[in-house]
């Protein structure tokens, strides 16, 4: 039996949900529509004529291409390094019984708590004092810090749901520790490794604050290039890039879901505890 208060409650609930959803989705819709705007200036919405001029503009913009190129290199290398090291670290922390595991875990996860501006500034001072002036090396070092915690968290989360006795069974049957790890533990952690790697790559690719400190005039990431352009003027090339980001984002989510399941990231994964 439904009462009048139930109807009022449901109405408020639905309104708030709609507001939240629209707030998250609307900007993307506006950006998609405006990216096809034929006008050369930023005019009233909706546009009166449509064209692909802003996409052509992006395709001919060397400044942005360079950023994209650097971003891909930096994020790929940082993610690879973090995935390999992070997976082994997570296995050791989860399956191991040695002392100091909690301290290690806290250290590995610390970049999640340290504000990214502080990380960027500190790594800049660190690399300068070591004499590392190469932009690419600096960026990769900074991005290893950003990506590592995500891999560790997702792999730890997945492993915590896998009984230790599987690994122990292999060991008691005479497998060497490294064989048990490669043949048993690693495959069990597979979904966590994949989800963590995709997530870490995205976080690195989108990172601005750290990259802003570690970029130089010739080596800069795509978000840094976009930021510089946006501070200069609001032209619609960025709207075209938004659409590309949107498409890539959808593809990545689909891949993530297919390979590991989106649920891997919630609950005990990256989000939630």
């Amino acid at each position: 039996m439904k009462r009048i208060e139930d109807y009022i409650g449901t109405a408020i609930y639905t309104t708030v949900l709609l507001f939240a959803g629209l707030f998250l989705v609307m900007p993307m819709i506006v950006a998609v529509v405006l990216s096809f705007d034929a006008r050369s200036f930023l005019g009233a919405f909706p546009p009166t004529e449509f064209s692909l001029r802003w996409y052509r503009e992006f395709l001919s913009d060397d400044y942005l291409h360079r950023g994209l190129y650097t971003s891909l290199i930096v994020s790929t290398i940082a993610t690879l390094v973090s995935t390999v090291l992070g997976t082994f670290a997570a296995i050791a922390i989860d399956r191991g019984r040695f002392k100091g595991r909690a301290t290690l875990e806290a250290m590995f996860l610390s970049p999640l708590i340290i504000p990214t501006v502080v990380t960027g500034f500190a790594v800049l001072i660190f690399t300068a004092s070591l004499g590392i002036m190469d932009g690419l090396t600096r960026l990769i070092l900074g991005h290893i810090l950003i990506t590592f915690p995500y891999i560790l968290r997702t792999v730890l989360a997945v492993l915590s749901g896998v009984p230790k006795r599987y690994t122990e069974a292999a060991l008691s049957l005479g497998a060497k520790p490294w064989l048990a790890t490669i043949e048993v533990t690693l495959p069990l952690a597979r979904s966590g490794i994949i989800a963590g790697a995709i997530f870490a790559f995205v976080m690195s690719f989108d990172e601005v604050a750290v990259s802003l400190f570690l970029s130089d005039p010739f080596t800069y990431t795509l978000p840094v290039a976009l930021l510089t352009q946006m501070r200069a003027s609001l032209n619609l090339t960025i709207a075209a890039i938004s659409v590309i980001f949107l498409v890539v984002s959808v593809l990545l989510i689909l891949a993530l879901d297919k390979l590991a399941g989106v649920e891997t990231l919630t609950g005990r994964g990256v989000y939630g505890r």
Partner: protein
């Protein structure tokens, strides 16, 4: 080879790469913050006496505004995100059909997957002074041509990340609350909204507080939203740090501010987690 030694060897490469990369920069940052600075140079003066003047510089009323703005705007963002996010999370866990729930979940992740810079741009196009939804600010009584509108834009910019962030965190929280309890309350005659407010909501408070800490920590340390949307009217502590680096090259002052910022972030995080686990011990949570 004994198992313990094997695991130590397994974690060793990560420690060798990671430990210097975390600890080294922080130590040097602290050291830099104690160096005197001479105008015009890049970075602090080497081999000089150490000083605390870089810290005392911020003990001045002009800086209070930046600290207060950072904390106040972030608080507004976090509270808004918690209210909206809790309902979204509740919808995903309790109301939506599995397919819709998964779609919302993927959507929330998708929003976070899109570069923050790109989203700031899209929000400016949508709600900004020439955007089609500009007049939505009248709903909260803000004239889109005023300074306060700039603040609203910063709130929107931060909310667009904090909302999905806290929602995804709280989905885990609500999943832990036993749905039977709410059903029991309703079968005893409580209307839906009362069951929600007197059963589900109180049981998820620890998770809400944790989500709030995550959202707040993200907000206060954000750089790009106030940089691009604040237009000089809303300036966060992180912006000051960035200006010390990009505009004046006063590294010692920037380093001192970074240390302050770091202590604030760590303080909020550890105090917050302590409070949660002191008031709601993990074992007693979830009402199962």
């Amino acid at each position: 080879m004994p198992l313990d030694r094997f695991h130590k060897i397994l974690v060793l490469p990560a420690v060798l790469v990671f430990a210097p990369l975390v600890i080294g920069p922080l130590i040097l940052l602290f050291q830099e913050s104690l160096r005197p600075y001479e105008g015009g140079s890049i970075g602090g003066t080497l081999n000089a006496y150490l000083t605390l003047s870089n810290y005392t510089e911020f003990w001045h009323p002009t800086y209070a505004k930046y600290f207060l703005d950072t904390f106040r705007v972030s608080l507004i963002v976090t509270l808004l995100a918690l209210v909206l996010g809790y309902l979204l999370a509740h919808y995903v866990v309790r109301v939506a059909k599995p397919r819709i729930a998964k779609l919302v979940l993927a959507g929330l992740l998708g929003v976070l997957f899109i570069s923050l810079i790109v989203r700031i741009y899209a929000i400016t196009l949508t709600f900004g002074p020439i955007g089609p939804l500009r007049d939505i600010s009248w709903l909260v009584g803000i004239d889109p041509r005023t300074r306060r509108h700039t603040e609203l834009m910063v709130v929107f910019g931060l909310l667009h990340t904090v909302l999905p962030l806290v929602t995804l965190t709280m989905i885990g929280t609500i999943q832990m609350v036993n749905p039977r309890l709410e059903e029991a309350a309703m079968s005893l005659g409580a209307p839906g909204w009362r069951a929600f407010f007197s059963v589900t909501l109180p049981l998820s408070i620890p998770g809400i507080v944790s989500a709030g800490i995550i959202g707040y920590a993200f907000s206060i340390s954000n750089l790009v939203v106030p940089l691009l949307m604040g237009r000089g009217f809303v300036t966060f502590i992180s912006n000051l740090i960035y200006f010390r680096f990009s505009e004046v090259a006063n590294f010692p002052s920037g380093a001192a501010l970074s240390v302050i910022m770091l202590l604030i972030a760590l303080g909020i995080f550890f105090a917050g987690t302590r409070i949660v686990s002191a008031i709601w011990p993990p074992a007693e949570r979830s009402g199962r």
